[in-house]
Amino acid sequence: MGTYIPHTDDEVESMLAFLGLSSVADLFAVVPEALKLQRRLELADGVGEPDVLARMEGFADQNRARSDRLVCFAGGGAYDHEIPSVTRALAGRSEFVTSYTPYQPEVAQGVLQAVFEYQTMVARLAGLPVANASLYDGGSAAVEAVNLGVAASGRETVWVSAGIHPHWRQMLVTCAAGTGHRIETIPLVDGVTRWPDDDAHLDHPPGVLMVGYPNYLGCIEDLAEARAVCDRTGALLVVGADPVAAGLLKSPGAWGADVVVGEGQVFGTTLGFGGPYLGLFACDLGQVRRLPGRLVGETSDVDGRRSYVTTLRAREQDIRREKATSNVCTNQTLMAVTAAVQLGWLGTSGLVELARRCAQATRYARDALLALDRVAAFAHAPVLREFAVRLPIPAAVAVERMADAGFLAGIPLGEDFDDGEHGLLISVTERRTREEIDAYVTALDKAVAS
């Protein structure tokens, strides 16, 4: 069995003696006998590390969709981007991995400074002045953004573009059951949001607008229009941004976004079956006291040395309790540190190059696919590193067939989209080569033939 308890039997005995107890069971004398579990847990006996690994490798082996077995063309909010050895090595340092929230800044400058640098980089990507120390994932960041937006606007109606990730939209609805927010979905037309153009006399004018940039279908939305709707209605503009797109596209902040949220997995975190990921959250200074999650600020120590510390704690639940703006405590700091390392590795030119390569590869793949007889465009708006196609067969069937050809073909759009059953969302990152794309196109052509 596992050997993580250091105590020898002798030691346990002398400790019990020190406590005046005669057995370990006595430690639980305060627990009413009737409640105690009168049997052993029905779990297998513990095993040593090699057996543990064998068990876990057994699970791993049953996953056909491993990126070392299927070439990944799936995106939809989780992307197969390059993770260099250096990111793994640095973010994996045990000082970062095995510490906790920097409650004692004197011995936590490592994590604090890394998060401060992360905040700076996320703010710059968003084009906004402040970013927090992370949220759970893109979806939870979206939920927090809506909570902030409703609080700031004082209006409970939220207009969410249908181009927002369907899972995020589900989370918004789920959480709205508690907050009472009114989530209204605004439909897409040919891949981009068609905002209501007559919103002058609404019963429930929106407090928040949320739009993707690019959106779930990969399409680049017109943020100027969204901003105009906000200006008209007095809503806050929340942009769900793909942070990789910032390599080529104007920042959401430049378009007038009030809050920017996003999925930070793209910066150095493995696909990992969906988690742990990284919720990005940036906003305007005016909203900083409503900012969910932790925030690191610069200050100095008693000797005047530059130091970092978590700040504006008064927002947090350990101080404000029921009046807190958010209940987030443990967040995704390690992924934030990972993103700081990865963004340091990319640097100014690398982010541009990353986005450019994604866009080139996507363009190449999209052109080739749309040249096939049996494949049609799902939408026509410009895209960056992701696009949807319409297949002559159900997309789920195509995915199964493509797996046999060695590809994870993409994400079926499914019921969240009109005619989604035949829609396949395809992402082409900078890791895909021409050879892989050519082979993919040939395979898909064959897969949809029958």
């Binding site: 491993r66 609805v173 021409r434």
Partner: protein
């Protein structure tokens, strides 16, 4: 050559190891100060893809004119920077971290290996169940295991941390009441509760009703009785509570809450104390969240990631978030796994399936320990905490002088009254002894609280060293003039930091520096 700019902290910027703590305690420059235009670390795969001009790629007007300014550093400087930062960071791997309520136990390295397995880490979450049978099987096994441990019927693995679990639980509570046509507005929590509890209650759309603790540190049964009515949706408790004390009246509480039609929510932050000994389900709880990052040794990562699965009793199963991985039988009787969304599901609490790699770590840890090993964890955690309690009784105040569970709350009140030394001072002084500080000023109901959770992975020798340090500090408090202790720490990478200034003059990014 042009003299390179001199950095804010003096000295030339660049790869100087001026911050390796073994070499002095100068500050580490930010990555932005190490940056030099044109430098780079990145490289990508050779793709061979024919390229189109950039203006055909990105629609005019959307294209940004200037790249996002990030740092520009060589791989070498990137490595030096973050390695030096890591040397400015305390961690479990460096020493004992008795941070109460956080269960900073040793995280077995084998779990890092598990989280790095290509067959787990390299799987896209949007791949269909047919291609991810291994992951679904793993999730089902973990769910079943957690149910056995908590005595519940089923669980969702989606919540990414304890607080997310709390909200999930409250939404389940709401959905359950609503399905029964009952509209309720209040949730009860004790005054000793963790701050996430009231915050979650609010987000769940309920009003927080606080019940006081009695003089034994437990829920005041009389006060509870006065707030219990048909408008109470439920009660949130952690047991052992945040004082490290077991709520002995839990059966009576359960009966009382159930009688008014309310549900019992178990905050599992303290589950480490009772593994294999007593189960929330058997105590009468209906909803249980677990902090896998605490109890099941997945490292805290400097503040996360965690994982906060929520297990429920039979009657709440139909409301669980979806999709859930379930085992179905295939034609040839070998198990097949599918995604299933419960009929009355509250919806979705995570973009994907929860913090999957954290879940895998937790399962590996449970497999390593086995059922009896888990019980031994609880036993040893409780033994360690009681040893510390007993050992320090007389040196510090013990507000509730009875056997504790996995952690003990001491108080510096007497010392403070006599010498002006606060819990904060003791904490800072302890840093310099080579230990992380305990949790201070929590729970709120104890004055000058020091909340010590040794965990089961610290040896008796380490406990002894910790006790000696805390005794030394108490002795110092009694033998030095006021203010002496407030000067500590001296030898840490930075000394006491000005928190007030940070809040007053907010500098949340490098760009906001004055």
């Amino acid at each position: 050559m042009t003299e390179p700019a001199v950095s804010a902290d003096g000295g030339a910027p660049g790869g100087k190891a001026n911050s390796a703590p073994l070499l002095g305690r100068a500050a580490e420059p930010t990555l932005f100060e190490l940056s030099h235009p044109g430098r780079r670390a990145w490289s990508f795969r050779t793709s061979g893809i024919p390229e189109v001009p950039i203006d055909q790629l990105v629609p005019e007007g959307h294209r940004r004119e200037e790249p996002v300014p990030l740092a520009e550093v060589s791989e070498r400087d990137l490595v030096a920077h973050f390695t030096r930062l890591s040397h400015r960071q305390f961690s479990v791997d460096l020493g004992a971290y008795p941070l109460g309520s956080c269960t900073m136990k040793y995280n077995p390295k084998v779990c890092d290996t598990v989280a790095g397995l290509p067959g787990l880490a390299g799987v896209h979450p949007g791949a269909p169940a047919s291609l991810t049978q291994g992951w679904l099987a793993l999730l089902v096994e973990l769910e079943e295991t957690l149910c056995e441990i908590t005595g519940m019927a089923a669980a969702t693995l989606q919540p990414a941390a304890g607080a997310a679990g709390e909200l999930t639980g409250l939404l389940l509570m709401r959905a359950w009441h609503e399905a029964r046509g009952s509209v309720r507005h209040k949730v009860i929590i004790p005054d000793s509760a963790h701050g996430t509890n009231p915050a979650s209650v609010t987000l769940g759309g309920y009003e927080v009703i606080t019940v006081p603790s009695d003089d034994r540190g437990c829920v005041d049964m009389e006060a509870l009785a006065t707030v219990l009515d048909e408008d109470v949706a439920g009660i949130m408790l952690t047991n052992p509570n945040t004082l490290g004390l077991f709520e002995e009246d839990i059966a009576a509480i359960a009966t009382a809450v159930h009688e008014v039609g309310g549900l019992l929510y178990y905050d599992g932050a303290n589950l480490n104390a009772i593994l294999g000994v007593v189960r929330p389900g058997d105590m009468g709880f209906d909803i249980v969240h677990m902090n896998l990052h605490k109890t099941f040794a997945t490292p805290h990562g400097g503040g996360g990631p965690g994982a906060g699965p929520v297990a429920v009793s039979e009657r709440l199963v139909p409301f669980l978030p979806g999709p859930r991985a379930v085992r179905v039988e295939s034609a040839d009787q070998s198990p097949v796994y599918e995604w299933m969304t419960p009929p009355q599901s509250i919806g979705r609490m995570h973009t994907w399936h929860g913090n999957a790699l954290v879940l895998a770590r937790a399962l590996a840890y449970i497999v390593a320990n086995g059922g009896d090993g888990l019980r031994q964890i609880a036993e040893t955690a409780v033994l360690n905490a009681n040893w510390i309690r007993q050992r320090l009784t007389g040196t510090y105040d013990v507000p509730f002088d009875r056997p504790c569970m996995h952690e003990v709350v001491l108080s510096v009140r007497t010392i403070k009254q006599a010498h002006g030394v606060r819990a904060l001072d003791v904490a800072k002084r302890l840093l310099e002894e080579g230990f992380h500080a305990p949790t201070v000023y929590f729970p709120l109901i104890v004055d000058e609280a020091l909340m010590i959770e040794p965990t089961e992975t610290e040896s008796p020798q380490t406990l002894e060293a910790l006790a000696q340090s805390l005794e030394r500090i108490a002795h110092e408090a009694n033998s030095h003039e006021e203010g002496w202790m407030a000067e500590f720490p001296h030898e840490t990478p930075v000394r006491r930091v000005d928190e007030a200034r940070a809040a007053r003059t907010l500098v949340p990014t490098f760009d906001a520096r004055g």
